[in-house]
């Protein structure tokens, strides 16, 4: 009777069906550390009971094919972006355990921004950083972690710190950040260290399972092929050359002082209320226009130019008209003046930009000077005569002079100058004052001024 004593971890697929050939072996070279690390992770997924919930992010580099092997959710991503894609996963799936598996080029060169910021946000993620001091997949170019003097395809005379910089120590950098919970550097070049790595991986995944946050495990790993060494020589190289520069230690362990955090999502009953969209009833029929209103309103910043434009657009909308409002835009917006374009039309609005208005509401002299000439013949200019001491020069337009500032001031609310102006305009069009009152009610932020505004509207409508 046969008895299976040693078998592949259930954390791996039985058959590597995504591979084109050799579906029972990995693509890794003899002596490579990835196979060992994969095995430690696969076993941990099963032993910690997290296999169903785990999402493995395969990077670019030799471990690009991690998804061939791990029997869990798999996403393959762009070079260096695993922590960003992992962030998307961990934010979208509260129950997920995300493993960002990255090499030294991926994490410490092209993806430096992504790893630093995922760590700094404390994403619920376990980062497995495999540092072998060389680019494996592309055939042996310098890595950001290549040692001083190390000969590679792109440093044929040895890495010169004066021109290529110094080998970067990522665990040290990550551990300076506040958010990460657990940061350790381990190695897989001999049995003793493989066992330590086994513990570190389990601890990191447990941190994530417990909802504590971000862990970073740097694993010093041999790459005999790209380092051009025999597997056993490469293990010695790791021990003698790499580890003195990359000390194996726990850089940060705040597991005992952190409290679990699981995201909470706000719930709602009425989504329209939450996002501020009212259920309005349109009033049709009482707002009759002889012609489309193409209005420019202009004045000092602070005179309520933009808000009065919005009120007119609002009144038009509620009367089922086609309206648009556009703030002054481009080179004309300067010198502390504000102006806006308002269309109130009986059919679909063409250009929201009004170059030839038939209504100009001028709140100060600069506005009249600037826009008097663009009003179409037969149009109407409403002039705030309190601040504009000249008459309209043209004789082919209608003019309405309103001492608006004076009226507003005499009523004790200077800020309502704009209300006087648009009330005069609406009165001129024979529009029911209640429409303006309703609009002021819904748009006025300072509700204690509502009565005063209504009083002002009544006064404008009752005057001759």
């Amino acid at each position: 009777m046969e008895e299976m004593i040693l078998s592949k971890s259930k954390g791996f697929y039985d058959t590597y069906f995504r591979k084109d050939s050799n579906q029972f072996t990995t693509h890794y070279c003899p002596g490579c550390g990835h196979g060992k690390i994969h095995k430690l992770i696969a076993e941990a997924l099963v032993d910690l009971g997290i296999q169903d919930r785990t999402v493995m992010i395969s990077p670019v580099g030799c471990s690009v094919f991690a998804y061939y092997y791990f029997d869990c959710g798999n996403i393959q991503v762009a070079h260096g972006r695993a922590p960003a894609a992992g962030t998307g996963v961990t934010r979208a799936l509260d129950d997920s355990l995300v493993i960002s598996y990255q090499g030294d080029g991926d994490l410490a060169a092209i993806g430096t921004a992504e790893i630093i910021h995922a760590a700094n946000r404390g994403e619920k993620m376990t980062v497995i950083f495999v540092n072998n001091a060389i680019y494996g997949m592309t055939g042996g170019q310098m890595a950001p972690t290549s040692l001083e003097g190390q000969v590679t395809l792109t440093t044929p005379y040895g890495r010169n710190p004066l021109t290529e910089g110094y080998p970067i120590r990522m665990s040290e950098i990550i551990s300076t950040l506040t958010a990460p919970v657990y940061v350790e550097r381990v190695a897989v070049h001999n049995y003793k260290n493989i066992m330590k790595t086994r513990q570190a991986i389990r601890k990191a995944l447990q941190v994530q399972k417990d909802g504590l946050g971000f862990s970073f495990i740097e694993i010093i790993s041999p790459c005999p092929t790209s380092l051009r060494l025999a597997p056993t020589d490469c293990e010695s190289w790791v021990e003698e050359k790499m580890i003195p520069y990359y000390p194996l230690k726990v850089f940060k362990d705040e597991i005992s002082t952190r409290t679990p955090h699981f995201p909470e999502h706000k719930t709602f009953t009425d989504i329209y209320e939450v996002i501020g969209i009212d259920d309005i009833k349109e009033d049709t029929g009482s707002f009759n226009l002889k012609e489309d209103q193409k209005i420019r309103i202009s004045g000092f910043g602070g005179q309520g130019v933009l808000s009065s434009g919005l009120m007119l657009a609002g009144i038009g909308m509620k009367q089922n008209k086609f309206t648009s409002w556009l703030p002054s835009y481009g080179p004309e917006m300067r010198g502390g003046t504000a102006n806006c374009h308002v269309n109130i039309c009986s059919s679909k609005v063409g250009s929201p930009v009004i170059d030839s208005p038939n209504v100009l509401i001028a709140m100060n002299i600069a506005s009249l000077d600037e826009f008097e000439d663009i009003v179409v013949p037969g149009g109407t200019i409403f002039v705030n005569s309190s601040l504009i001491d000249r008459k309209v020069r043209r004789d082919d337009v209608n003019t309405v002079y309103i001492p608006a500032t004076q009226i507003a001031e005499s009523m004790g609310l200077l800020a309502a100058t704009n209300i006087v102006m648009i009330a005069s305009y609406l009165k001129h069009l024979s529009i029911n004052k209640q429409m303006l009152i309703n609009e002021v009610k819904s748009s006025l932020k300072k509700k204690n001024l509502l009565d005063k505004n209504i009083e002002i509207i009544n006064k404008v409508y009752s005057s001759n």
Binding site: D20, Q51, D52, R53, V55, Y67, D71, C72, G73, N74, I75, Q76, V77, A78, R81, A84, A85, G86, T87, G88, V89, R91, A92, L93, S96, L97, A113, E114, I116, H117, H265, K266, T267, F268, I271, Y272, V274, I275, G276, I277, D279, I280, E282, L310, A313, G314, M317, T323, S324, W325, L326, P327, Y329, G330, G350, S351, P352, V353, D355, S356
Partner: protein, 356 residues
Amino acid sequence: MRKTLIKGNEAVVKSAILAGCRYYFGYPITPASEIAHTAAKYFPLVGGTFLQAESEISAINMVYGASACGVRVMTASSGPGISLKQEGVSYIAGAELPCLIVDVMRAGPGLGNIWAEQGDYNQVVKGGGHGNYRVPVLAPASAQDMCDYTALGFDIADRYRTPVYLFTDAYIGQMIEPVVFPEVDVVNKSQDKKYDWQIRATRETRSNCITSIVMSPEGMEELNLRLQEKYKKISENETRYETYRCEDADYLIVAYGICSRLARTCIDRLQERGIKIGLVRPITLWPFPSQALKDLVSNNNICHTLVFELSNGQMIDDVRLSVESRCKVSLINRMGGVVPKESWIIQSILSKISKE
């Protein structure tokens, strides 16, 4: 009626929420930042996530990750940021993931400025990333369109597993207009989505794998052929456009976004003078309404088509390919953020057609 006066940029966010989108990843850039501000305000209130990423590259890769989980997700940016996102868009297209990307264009090249331009046409409509992919591009021309096309964009994205662009400019984004929002029955809608491909961190979905790498040339060609088949379907089913006063027109203007709005007003003025000129406004820039334009030119014996765009003439290539020399095609354009006045546009049109 769910009707309100609202800025186009804000309408996008509210429409996205009503469409079940609960994830927004983005990086600030003028003039698209308003979308981020609005998302930052509302997404958390509806149980969603707003995250300000460390870069445009990270933002699009966060979109990639969230989309792989089958949720509705979006990002927004402007030209320089879209340039950075292109790598991610290629991966999203290759891995066949749905998402919505908003481009509120500004003037370029380089840092350019923040005023309205349409110079992103080539990098968005022609696909700025590597590889054989296409991305549906919706071009709104009103705040209502911003609302409607956001929802439509998510639907197209999900239906075909593709990224979709909402392609707009500072005018359409800044302008306030009445918008009728759809009546929807939403209770955390994004959680209801179930696709057989999505990663869900469950036993049932454990075997799922999202990737764009195919090692063998034959396998990669197969993926590409599948993509092209999908693009053919999108072309057949999703091409959209609008015409205005094209009946018995002698001349056509082709314009999208803010230009189509300016053109509408100019067409009214020219028609008052007895010039028979109409507007074709592509709603989808890819797929471009080539057949419709070609038919219109042939059936109406159009003698001259004028392309009005705020760029160095990018959409005009698609117009030329569509009309296949059936009529003269010329360009009316401004660049750098200059939005011409009505009178300038009318003069330009008259000077182009007066030679006929």
